[in-house]
């Protein structure tokens, strides 16, 4: 009998679709890219099915595998699809994992004179997108502080 941990990551995702209910995220990552100083705030939200795997444990590889793969050349074999899965995470831990996985390292891994990202509740993100191009992290963090 094949064990879940023996399957590659994409096959574990297929199993998760059948055994885990999606979990609607409560948090998101608001961030700005220093390479695009004029670009508006970006908002990254975990996929509900991904979050379900993170909270359940046994599906996702350690985030370090992604980070090492990012250092590898495009044609080199990647580690993360076949790395042994890790255990369950809390939702906050999952958000920190996602920062390192899906947000460029220059956003969270370099010294800066001001915050470039924040993990915030989703309901803090404006639902009105009329002025989407004007969203800034400072507006959001100021509102958070308030």
């Amino acid at each position: 009998m094949t064990r879940l941990a023996d399957l590659p990551l994409w096959a574990r995702e297929l199993v998760a679709r059948h055994v885990l209910a999606p979990v609607e995220p409560r948090y998101c990552i608001a961030w700005e890219d220093p390479f695009e100083p004029d670009a508006p705030l970006k908002v990254t939200i975990p996929a509900p099915r991904w979050l379900a795997m993170a909270l359940a444990g046994g599906f996702l590889p350690p985030v370090e595998a992604y980070l090492r793969d990012a250092e590898r050349g495009e044609s080199e074999p990647k580690e993360h699809p076949y790395a042994p899965p890790i255990g369950p995470m809390t939702e906050v831990e999952a958000m920190e994992y996602l920062v390192m996985k899906d947000i460029p390292r220059r956003v969270w891994g370099e010294p800066t004179n001001r915050p470039r990202f924040a993990i915030v509740r989703r309901d803090m993100i404006p639902a009105d997108r009329t002025h989407r191009s004007a969203w800034r992290l400072t507006d959001l963090t100021t509102r958070t502080a308030a």
Binding site: K42, I45, A47, E74, D102, R122
Partner: protein
């Protein structure tokens, strides 16, 4: 049976005649006397018939030990098993004890046999124990253990310790000079694993013996036979120069299974079921198991009266039919290979190419094959890109990023092997009118191995948020 009745006269005819000389004898008294005489005579005749045949000789079974005079001595009295508290008569009673025949030489009432024997009340006539190997082959023991001719009329073991012996080396002739080759060669005739038993016993001392199974062939060596044996039991010490009787008991051949009823079985050596047979009425098809020579494969076949018949393998309960018990061999391995398999439903955890693991050919519409992996969506998502964006559903998506109006990134849980993949992006009809159609565009410049960009524009060629942003990625997974 009692003795015949005694006759006693009941009437005095003399006195009657004296007192009545002129009268005749009273007839009733005469009849009574004659009747009494007849009773006695008839009983005498019956008794004589018991002891005399019609030819005048004594009747059969009419004379026994009791009828013979004590002084009469002719041969042995019949021997009996010795018993305690029994009156034995000197020179008359014989008993068996431990295979020996004894004659009572002092009349006595028995107590303990050994005590009576020590007191010279019994005389040993013959020891039957020493006479048991009068028939059969006899060989003299040789205590050398090398593989070779033990010498005329001799035998030896291949080990000084009888319990460790695995060979018997037996001369072709026994100690009487009789040829034993045909007899020795028959030791391995049986088709059974254990072909028989060899019992070796010292003629003069039955307490020294050994028992072996014949478990191998008999080799015809120069002047002697080499018999492969397995030790079973022994007692005492074998002494060189002493004569031993050698007896062989052949095991039967392995029999055929014979006719089996429904539910009949073949058991293993622990009496556990090894095979069970199922029977249907008027069967015409059956299973054939064929062995194979070196380099060839044994087979299990469906055979019988029908021209085309399936071979059905039926697992029990939730069990499955697997090619190998260790579960590591697949249908494409060199050890298990089926040219064509017909199944209704395939339940498996993995489909993998046999020649190239990541390439699984699928028959196309014509004769050409296409690649299954290349036809699969490696990532897909449906996003509500309005308001606070939210994924409706997805596969292989870790997150979605609201980049700006009408621009979204989808992070891949399992990255792509390279950025040269195809991403199909689409928006939706906002109102049902073509002028309100939202078009999806993949921004290749923003694609990475772990992220794909979806841009949505409206009919006015401006970025626009869409409630149904769909993306499908085809290509190679990392």
């Amino acid at each position: 049976m009692a003795q015949p009745s005694e006759y006693n006269r009941q009437y005095n005819f003399t006195n009657r005649q004296a007192t009545n000389p002129d009268d005749p004898l009273p007839a009733d008294q005469v009849d009574a006397e004659l009747n009494a005489i007849k009773v006695t005579l008839d009983e005498i005749r019956a008794r004589i018939a018991l002891i005399q045949r019609d030819d005048g000789a004594l009747a059969n079974d009419s004379v026994g030990d009791d009828q013979l005079a004590t002084a009469l001595e002719i041969g042995f009295n019949p021997p009996r098993a010795w018993a305690t508290a029994t009156a034995y008569v000197a020179d008359n009673n014989y008993v068996y004890v431990d295979g020996k025949l004894y004659l009572c030489i002092v009349s006595h009432t028995s107590g303990t046999f050994a005590t009576d024997l020590a007191a010279d009340k019994w005389d040993e006539i013959i020891d039957f124990n020493a006479q048991r190997f009068l028939a059969g082959y006899r060989f003299v023991f040789d205590d050398t253990t090398t593989d070779g001719d033990p010498g005329a009329g001799k035998f030896r073991f291949d080990n000084a310790a009888v319990a460790s012996a695995t060979k018997l080396f037996v001369d072709n002739e026994d100690s009487f000079g009789r040829s034993a080759t045909a007899w020795l060669d028959s030791f391995d005739d049986s088709a059974s694993t254990v072909k028989g038993h060899v019992w070796v016993e010292e003629i003069a001392n039955p307490a020294v013996y050994a028992l072996f199974e014949v478990t191998g062939s008999v080799a015809d060596d120069t002047g002697y036979r080499d018999v492969s044996v397995t030790y079973v039991d022994h007692s005492g010490t074998f002494v060189a120069g002493r004569t031993y009787g050698v007896h062989f008991t052949r095991a039967g051949d392995v029999g055929s299974i014979g006719q089996q009823p429904d539910g009949g079985s073949v058991d293993d050596t622990n009496s556990n079921e090894l095979l069970e047979f199922g029977v249907v009425a008027s069967a015409v098809n059956h299973v054939k198991v064929t062995n194979a020579a070196t380099g060839s494969s044994p087979s299990v076949s469906a055979v019988g009266g029908d021209t085309n018949i399936d071979l059905v393998l039926v697992p029990k309960g939730t069990g499955a039919v697997v090619p190998d018990a260790d579960g590591t061999r697949d249908l494409g391995s060199s050890s298990v290979r089926w040219a064509e398999v017909h199944v209704d439903t395939v339940l498996t955890d993995l489909l993998r190419g046999a020649t190239t693991a990541g390439s699984l050919p699928v028959q196309g519409e014509g004769t050409a094959t296409i690649n299954l992996q290349q036809g699969l969506a490696k990532l897909w998502a449906l996003l509500d890109g309005t308001g606070t964006i939210a994924l409706r559903d997805s596969y292989n998506v870790s997150s979605t990023t609201d980049v700006n109006t009408g621009r979204y990134n989808f992070g891949a849980t399992n990255a792509m092997a390279n950025a040269n993949y195809v991403a199909r992006v689409d928006g939706d009809f906002a109102s049902g009118a073509l002028t309100d159609a939202w078009f999806g565009v993949n921004s290749y410049a923003n694609n990475t191995v772990s992220s794909v960009r979806a841009n949505i524009v409206n009919a006015n060629d401006a970025y626009a948020d869409s409630a149904y942003v769909s993306v499908i990625v085809s290509g190679d997974l990392a």
